[in-house]
């Protein structure tokens, strides 16, 4: 299959390893990506916190670009994903809203029809590639690795019509973890907010919320956590040393993008997966699984 790729700003910078590993594993799983031409920032939470129409127009411009190319949109960053699908699903149901969005495009050659679909890589792997195929492709099962499936907020919330997962008790990442041979930790806080959206505006709050997640993960004997979100990753991986400092303790918990975990099991080199770009060292994991062919 072929799909329009919308990396979003994070994947070009602070989440480079997410971009690298997403491209790598999807190639291996026969999903072809065509990056949308001249895409723009989706506006994230900043757009709807400053101007409602702007929060619709920014995602819509990207979808219009995908429509011109005749492609559905793949958005790995959950914040981009939610901004894109919320705009698109609403415009599909409400012709007046669609018209209003197009009014913001007056004087440009953009035309938005709300005619394509917005997808997430977790959804693609579950429902298009399929877990069976993923299993066939596994070269190095991640045996005995205890992984926390951390969903965070906007990957599954707010509930979307025909969503690939449940908002209250999602299981898609759990299934992916099992399929690559690892053990999903039954994590009661898997959808609890890590506070990362407040990293800049109120770091203390973020540190407190993220610490609660790590305490639970440690208590349950986790070896690592996975996430699908660049913002969660920034909080949990990027700011882990700040949390250690604030509470004067050692956490030392690798936090991987779920695509990096899959990539390890597919036998893709750790360099290509950007596993050397995570701030908390992943070398133990790499050592255990990078050199042990089936």
């Amino acid at each position: 299959m072929k799909i329009g790729y919308y990396p979003g700003c994070s994947l070009e910078a602070t989440a480079k390893e997410y971009d690298m590993s997403t491209r790598e594993i999807l190639k291996e799983l026969d999903v072809e990506l065509e990056e949308l031409d001249d895409w723009n920032c989706c506006g994230a939470s900043a757009a709807y916190s400053t101007d409602y129409m702007l929060s619709l127009a920014l995602p819509a411009r990207n979808i219009a670009i995908a429509e011109k190319a005749g492609l559905d949109v793949l958005a790995p960053c959950p914040e981009c994903y939610v901004r894109l699908w919320k705009t698109n699903d609403a415009a599909k149901e409400d012709p007046k809203l669609l018209e209003k969005i197009n009014k913001t495009f007056k004087g440009t050659d953009l035309e938005y029809k709300a005619s394509v679909d917005i997808r997430h890589p977790v959804d693609i792997i579950l429902n298009d590639v399929g877990l069976e195929k993923l299993k066939e492709k596994v070269k190095k099962p991640l045996t005995d690795l205890r992984v926390v499936p951390y969903y965070g907020c906007v990957l599954v919330r707010p509930p979307r019509k025909n969503s690939f997962d449940s908002a209250e008790n999602p299981t898609s990442l759990d299934k992916i973890i099992s399929t690559v041979g690892a053990t999903p930790v039954d994590f009661p806080m898997k959808t609890k907010c890590c506070g990362a959206p407040l990293i800049l505006a109120d770091e203390d709050v973020m540190i407190k919320l993220a610490d609660a997640l790590f305490s639970k993960a440690k208590e349950l004997g986790a070896d690592c956590m996975i996430t699908a979100c660049p913002l969660c990753h920034m909080g949990l991986d990027g700011k882990q040393t700040s949390i250690e400092k604030a509470y004067d303790k050692k956490i030392d918990m690798p936090v991987l993008y779920f695509t990096q975990l899959i990539g390890l099991a597919l036998g893709i080199s750790h360099k290509k997966l950007g596993l050397d770009k995570n701030l908390v060292s992943t070398s133990k994991l790499v050592k255990s699984f990078s050199a042990a062919p089936k």
Partner: protein, 206 residues
């Protein structure tokens, strides 16, 4: 960290003359969708991860919005502590779009230029949108700089804040995760046009 127990705010008399009956309409127009159908069950408050630091709970904010308590709502710390996690919105038995409402309140506070001590939300969102609209893509070094300038309000304050975050920034640079030059999209003019259209549309419907 201020741990405010919002739940124990003493009972106050709400004076109708301090209320703005049009406020809820204004909020709905700004993206607050269906704020008026809240029936005060408190489910939103029960699941909110940041409520411990808020001055009013999400349920209280809903009530205050519907009563038209504009000034108090727009000056509350609550709206800036909302992490946009969508827990409340997913669980509300009335289907109130609470997260969207919090966003709408933030946008109104920003438009009215509300300035609350120690609240850095407006500085963050404004910096973010400035960059997104002029370049079409985020540029983190500029985001840090602009945010520090806006939230600290002085060059020395900004420098101090930047110094505090410098080690983290350096780590990102070392890992190749921070760009040195901004990426400007080819059609950045389109964004300017879009922005102007939106301003015009807002003027028309008023």
């Amino acid at each position: 960290m201020a741990e405010v127990m919002a739940q124990v705010v003493p009972q106050q008399t709400i004076k109708l003359k301090d209320c703005d009956p049009n406020f809820v309409k204004e909020v709905i127009k700004a993206g607050g969708k269906n704020a008026h159908i809240c029936f005060q069950c408190g489910t939103c408050t029960a699941g909110c991860p940041t409520v411990y630091a808020m001055d009013y709970t999400p349920r209280q904010i809903l009530r205050m919005v519907n009563l038209g308590m504009k000034d108090k709502v727009l000056q509350s710390g609550t709206i800036w502590l909302c992490a946009s996690c969508y827990t409340c919105q997913s669980r509300c038995p009335r289907g109130v779009e609470i997260t969207s409402l919090m966003g709408a309140l933030k946008s109104l506070a920003i438009k009215e230029g509300v300035d609350v001590k120690n609240i850095k939300g407006p500085a963050f969102y404004n910096s973010f949108i400035d960059i997104a609209m002029s370049n079409g893509r985020m540029f983190e070094p500029m985001l840090f700089l602009k945010f520090a300038m806006k939230s600290e309000g002085s060059l020395t304050g900004a420098a101090k804040a930047m110094m505090k975050d410098a080690p983290f920034g350096m780590k990102l640079v070392m890992k190749g995760k921070m760009a040195f030059v901004p990426h400007k999209i080819k059609q950045s003019k389109q964004l300017k046009t879009i922005y102007e259209n939106i301003k015009k549309m807002e003027g028309e419907s008023e």
